[in-house]
Symmetry: D3
């Protein structure tokens, strides 16, 4: 039996990544995953946070937000509440850590790459869509910086994408949960992976439930399947720049 929207258990929703979506940022995309839509931008600032000063390394900081009406019910703005929710902070930290794992921070100088992920429409999987889209926006911003000769090589060591997997109440393992699937899932797992198939983040949660090692293995299998498809989409979108990922670093080391 297939899923409510007709997908196979291990089938991604349609994914599109529109590049150069906005005028001002160094890199920007609109990523859509099914009905989920996220604007991801990358901005490069010529300084690092205080704790990094003098390190000769760069930093990547991520921020995540939702428009109040990205969701079925209107949410109160965090700016109006005067503080970020724990969920938002968790997602911001996840996006930042993930992106930092595939960038050679020693090669961008004392600069900060600000990655902003703003969800304009939410239907599940906003944090994984943010990572997948932000990787493209960040790569384009760095490629532009290289074109402008502000940095010598594209300091990206590998592709990076993310997807969710989960277990539904009938104990079926699902790839890429939409909102209604996510809301009823017993287990919800986010996988962030590099182009060569290694894990950067694995966060699997059983809310008022638990899962066996066998289930974990099956979830990872379908997650890897989805990840391969995401990397193909990223490559298609990045065009020539995709060829340079993981390369420039080697060249430089070869010297």
């Amino acid at each position: 039996m297939t899923r409510a929207d007709g997908r196979e258990l291990d089938e991604l929703r349609p994914v599109t990544i529109d590049t150069e979506f906005l005028k001002h940022p160094e890199g920007s995309v609109l990523i859509t995953v099914g009905e989920t839509k996220v604007i991801c931008t990358a901005s490069i600032e010529d300084r690092v946070p205080p704790f990094m000063r003098g390190s000769k390394k760069g930093w990547i900081a991520a921020e995540y937000s939702m428009l109040p009406r990205a969701t079925e019910q209107r949410n109160i703005r965090e700016a109006a509440k005067g503080k970020l929710s724990g969920r938002t902070m968790e997602i911001q930290r996840l996006i930042g850590r993930s992106l930092r794992s595939v960038v050679d921070l020693t090669k961008i100088g004392e600069r900060t790459i600000w990655v902003d992920c703003d969800v304009i429409q939410a239907d599940g999987g906003t944090r994984t869509a943010s990572i997948t889209g932000a990787f493209v926006a960040m790569t384009m911003a760095l490629q532009q910086y290289k074109n402008d000769e502000k940095i010598k090589t594209l300091p990206i060591t590998d592709f990076l994408a993310a997807v969710s997997v989960g277990v539904d109440p009938e104990q079926r393992e699902l790839l890429d949960l939409c909102y209604t699937e996510d809301a009823s899932a017993e287990v919800d797992m986010n996988i962030v992976m590099t182009g060569n198939g290694k894990f950067v983040e694995l966060q699997g949660t059983g809310e008022e439930a638990s899962y066996s090692r066998e289930q974990l293995n099956h979830l990872l299998d379908i997650g890897e399947k989805g990840m391969k498809e995401l990397f193909l989409i990223q490559k298609a979108v990045l065009g020539d720049t995709a060829e340079k990922i993981g390369r420039n670093t080697e060249e430089k080391e070869a010297k």
Copy 2:
């Protein structure tokens, strides 16, 4: 002599209003005015703020925000700073007051219409674009409510739009300032007007400058010209619903 972008002094930038831009809100548009792009949504909530309870009247509350990279330089999010700037509060209050002037709040029951204006790209005139777009989003949300028979008439008493005018350093009066014009303007005035040509708001500021009554009159003249064009665009976008604006109220009063 014409302006930097080739426009006449009293010429609007190209304006488009895309309706049903998002899936979840009762009403939503993407308005573009030149390079300025704002997502406006209207959400209807079945209760009013504490100070209105028991009044049998509804309320309209507006919120305004910018994506961090809507601008040339990245802005720090107000959610991260933990408070709204004075500028944001001023704009939110302006949008809310303006919309309330053309809605018969006694006819929507004790409901709140939340209007969210999120600027995704800024090039001057974001507050006036927000009002012009929000009027359309709100009208569509109320029309939907009428279609669903939650309210009896479309409680909109007139069209509403907004535009900026200003005086440039050469003392020329300009209609619809883009960002670079706005940044160097000696006088900056925002006009909010109803379809029958009456003022709802007039806010004219000379930052480190002043202006004569003659200049004021000329600014109002070109503002009225721009306003007429904006009403034509709103009418085109609203289609049949446009016919009912200012009407249903009369019908009801006729009974």
Copy 3:
């Protein structure tokens, strides 16, 4: 027919400005407009905000507050709430912008003039009384600075005052609204003007109402009448210093 307090439609309430009201500030006045009483002080600090550093120009920053019991009902202190209301921010910004329009900031060096307007009794028109009084306090502080030879000329280019006008439910245009008039007004407009009759700020709001261009013109007429009277009072209070307003600048330019 005259107004509730017996005034003509275009008649100001009695205005008094007591100078040197407090011991510590460089300039201070108690302005009373009818029953409205505001303490205005001007303090000069030998540095500017971060965004002005290195500009060789000064800055004027205004703060506005009300005692909790300035009003009929006690208000909660903004310090206790932990944040400023939108209304307070709007007024602070208005006062600061207005004062900056008549000071040649290049002639005060990298200094900040802090203007504090504290309403001790409110009966309508607190923001306009604040501007009218603050102008006097600021002028006296700068005159003192000139006397102390910290600046060479009195860098005030013109007089500055403010008044409210409005339209009452019987569609009459009124000058200088007291609280009860303000609470029921359909249109409320604040005018800030220089001594030579030019506008610095014009903010006209129809709360759940609108106004025609004819009404606007009549409002401006009576506003100009009130303004002339306010300038006479400021001149009387400032004595010899009044003679130097707009002068020193010219002298300097003559060299």
Copy 4:
């Protein structure tokens, strides 16, 4: 040898209490103690804080603030900082506790008396002046309430005033320290006392210093002397109402 301003060691500064200073509050005074000036108002609200609900008792809450330019150097507003300082909180708690000690809270019903002490000019002793003045404002508000027959008796059990004493660097005990004396004092003590000579609060602090029991005794002696003079001033100001303090309660208990 006498003090810098010519006073004897155990001499108060001149004290005046102007009643009915403001129009709106139930009770209000302007108290001046030397150059220190505080506006004290009392407002009665028909409800109590949550922790008192259902207790059939009233509450007294005090708030204290300074105008930014009450002092030699301008202070940043606590509203602008977004939080109260520890010093402000300490003073507010002290004023509230002190006033509660002389009011029979069971006789005012579930009402809150809000006491606001706003320092408009500071020259030492602002917290003690606040208490001495607030007692008068509160008494007048309650007398008005009795006149309006909202309460049956004046529920004030005794007079209440406060004064500071201290030890100067020459080890002299001083009554009623002005700012320069306070700034250099080795010991600073605030005494709050009832009309019958009992302590309500005694707060004696040696900042980077200590004091002996003998010194304490001498400080209390001169404090008591000052207190007697303050009670005479309060009596003079309160007129007929002064006669009823401590009385009505007895009458009622006699029934």
Copy 5:
């Protein structure tokens, strides 16, 4: 080769759990894991958060904090900063979710179990020690509630504990990282597991690094080994109560 402190790669640090550590809470323990010391308390409140009201179910909320000097360098208190860090929020959410997975919330009525984990000394693994200790404190509090006949059965469905695993710079998989190991680890993974060997949470992070599926499997193997030892310690500490875990529920369902 063994580790800096002489442990085998898959060896836990010494663990002790002192019960009834504090006088007031319904349940409290001091858990020590090597040099890490956490006070865990469980408090039961007779109401639930707003979003749970009317659900006839209970809730478990966790809070986590560190004493400023729990660490080598003094940390600024979050109360002084006025907000919780993202790290603290993440840990609080993790602890709460984990505990909720082994409690039948329908059997405790509309009550909230507040779990407080206060780290008094930190040497790595504070979040996992918090979960392992909090489980015991919560179980004791619920057992007491059953003894007092406020609930019918002990609503705990299984044991719950947590441990960290990681990969060190020499690519060795380690169980239960102390602070110095954690600081240099390339991969850091927290495992939360139930007594029957199922996962509740799995959070594996490569900070500026990634890990293969083989490494993941080995990490899970040594994690499971550590978990079995933690369950033995929990059983020993809980005594008779341990027998009832997972039982009472069955009995009730058998009826």
Copy 6:
């Protein structure tokens, strides 16, 4: 008649001070006074707050907090509320001022001693126990600094301890009130004293009550009795270091 717990009116509860309680801080103790338990730590930081920079003097800053379940009813964390209560600020200021009175701040260089008092169990007298314990922790930290030759002498000029006294509803003067005595006391007084019997702080409060000078004298008598016992305990705990208190300073002055 003796007290509820069998103590004489002028009898302290059992006091113990465990030194070197925690691993990381320069000085740390666990002080228990009856059922009250406070962890006091002293941390030395190599810089001073901005207002002290360039003064060549050090500073002592104190922070105070309670675990949520230190009390009979769980308290909401101040970190969760986002601000410190007035009570906490008052206690922090009291502890800091008291400790500064017995340290020669000119002899520690531009360093800050951070004193943290964390109440893990509360049964009355937490602020006085904090001061008594913090003095020991601070002395040990400074002795360690002297041993490490970072400072030349132990810059402590005298012993310092604190105790509470009060008047119960039967008008009996009590030494060292436990929580139930404190809750019903009519007068509550905290005394901070140096080893040579001089006052550093005296804070006596009558909440809705007052006290005579005779009562004050009796309270001070029993307070002094308790203080002498506390100094004996501090001396015993400090061992050899106790001998150097008040000495090194003299030696240095003798040179």
